[in-house]
Symmetry: C2
Subunit: 337 residues, 2 copies
């Protein structure tokens, strides 16, 4: 096992040149004859030599490493983003150190320090809530950071998010266009700006059409199927008047659907429902959820681009990228007679 890895000196000796020359040949910098370069390169991969990034990073003072903090990678929304983030980053020569915060703000801060110690050149974070921002502020001047998913409003920090307000507005108006006059919002997490905006879009759309609003809060630190289920179960046991539901997230919607099924409420016959996120599971057969799509690939690519631009030019300011959501019509909504 690990027969002491080869160093630049070893291959210098083999080739009969100084190790400085080897370094030059490998890093592609000028000042080496084509002949020696070829000779060096060939012995390198004959012996399977791979340069030591650690040493290289130490002198270069940059690691080409990006810290990536997510609530938990088994959440499909984060998984989809993570996949694209990793791919774009790698394509640009960066690798990702993955960290799960388990949706806890204290952990996010600890993880940030850890990542700082790891000498990452920047961090991309899918924050648990907007509160994350405040707690993390002290790190921002130490290291380029970009947020994904959470809308930080006018905070002086880079983020890429979807237009959440417009998203729920789109969803709510679709429901209204179908004839619904009594719509409830389920799963509002008040400490999240994303959720504030989502509930805002719903409220505005209702107001615009002279409709009443009802909002059911989620007091947990994350949205999940379980939470949606719990919330909806309680809801179904008390209210009966609404003909449609706007949910905070697709996972919430999934939980709501479960509760509806158990209560013998048929979707969309008895009640219509629209989700938010368009996680891959929303398109499943039996689910077939009408929802608002977040453009994952664009979000991930933009975040990586933004971060790397800031890393390479520290004088760069911040940017806010707010992408357009799309309504995906599937099978959970129907016109009201």
């Amino acid at each position: 096992m690990s027969a002491k890895r080869l160093t630049i000196r070893d291959i210098a000796q083999m080739t009969g040149v100084s190790y400085a020359t080897v370094s030059r040949a490998l890093s592609g910098s000028a000042g080496v004859s084509d002949q020696t370069r070829k000779r060096i390169l060939s012995t390198c991969n004959k012996l399977g030599y791979t340069a030591n990034y650690m040493a290289r990073s130490l002198v270069a003072r940059k690691s080409k490493l990006i810290g990536f903090i997510v609530g938990s990678i088994d959440n499909p929304y984060m998984g989809q983003l993570a996949c694209q983030v990793e791919l774009s980053a790698r394509q640009k020569g960066y690798n990702l150190i993955l960290c799960n915060s388990m949706h806890q703000e204290e952990h996010e801060a600890e993880l940030f320090s850890l990542l700082l110690g790891r000498q990452v050149d920047g961090v991309i974070i899918i924050p648990t809530s907007s509160k994350s921002y405040g707690a993390l502020e002290k790190f921002f001047e130490q290291i380029p950071t970009v947020f994904i998913g959470e809308n930080l409003r006018d905070a002086p920090k880079s983020y890429v998010a979807v237009d959440n307000y417009r998203g729920t507005m789109l969803g709510t108006e679709y429901l209204i266009s179908l004839g619904h006059r009594s719509i409830v919002y389920i799963g509002y997490r008040s400490e999240s700006v994303t959720h504030q905006l989502r509930v805002g879009g719903y409220t505005q759309a209702c107001k615009d059409h002279g409709l009443e609003t009802t909002v059911i809060d989620n007091r947990e630190s994350a949205s999940s199927i379980e939470q949606g289920y719990i919330l909806a179960k309680k809801y179904f046991s008390r209210y009966l008047s609404h003909t449609a539901i706007v949910t905070a997230t697709d996972t919430t919607a999934l939980g709501v659907m479960k509760a509806a099924d158990e209560a013998g409420i048929v979707i969309p016959r008895d009640i219509s429902i629209v989700g938010f996120d368009n996680i891959s599971y929303s398109m499943l057969p039996r689910i077939n959820l009408t929802t608002i799509e977040q453009p994952f690939n664009t979000m991930a690519a933009s975040a990586v681009d933004m971060l790397i631009r800031t890393i390479e030019d520290p004088a760069m300011g911040y940017s806010h990228i707010v992408l357009s959501p799309t309504l995906i019509k599937r099978g959970t909504c129907r016109p009201v007679e």
Copy 2:
């Protein structure tokens, strides 16, 4: 941005000691008076100093970094494993570099070299197929590696997997106990040993009870909902005789269910189905898939343990951990009259 990070010398100067003393104080090694240690530690976190892992790793010749190669992290099966792997690794002082191979063996090899250059102390891989093993063999003597998920039979390399043979056997026998006499297997990927074992368990169970077998192959390099759908669609358009389906994976089952729904085939009334993996979405309301569970948490924790043990004691041999699967009875199977 990044006001040149503090070094050990900076804080040595501030405290009025030599930087070696600071190093000792930080690494907790003996040979520093409690008083000076406290003084050093306090200035350290007053100034927000974090030790440079790169430099530390360079001299220690270990990075406390683990490379983690997955097919693609947005696959729920891999996401669930990844989450646990990261958590266990971090708890033991290791961090993860995440890489998506996009289910391509060539990429796996490239990723391995890259990770080697990154000086990871070991790698955990969820291989695309058993072919991965051969192509990667040349790396194994260079770095501790453990495989998750794929059963490598008697290969001289560490892996943790579920007893796939026993899994489908369990599933098939359950179906048989329900009275099914005509069962088809959908989604066999012949280049994967995991799949060979799964189809083996199915075949054996059928043989044991004197039943015929029918196997539908998946010629793609990965299982997915889409593949399951395509396979099932073709299947439903030709066969009609089976009363039950054993699927290679839950994602396959999901695709099969979609095709069934579209074809007007009602599950479980017209046909029963059992999946494999118990990914989180199988328990969804409308899905409620009867399936074989893989113990994700145990698998992840064992893999990390095994790897770290090998890292810390290079003389360690390899181990094969084959965990027991469990049948999760849900709503997609019913007794045949």
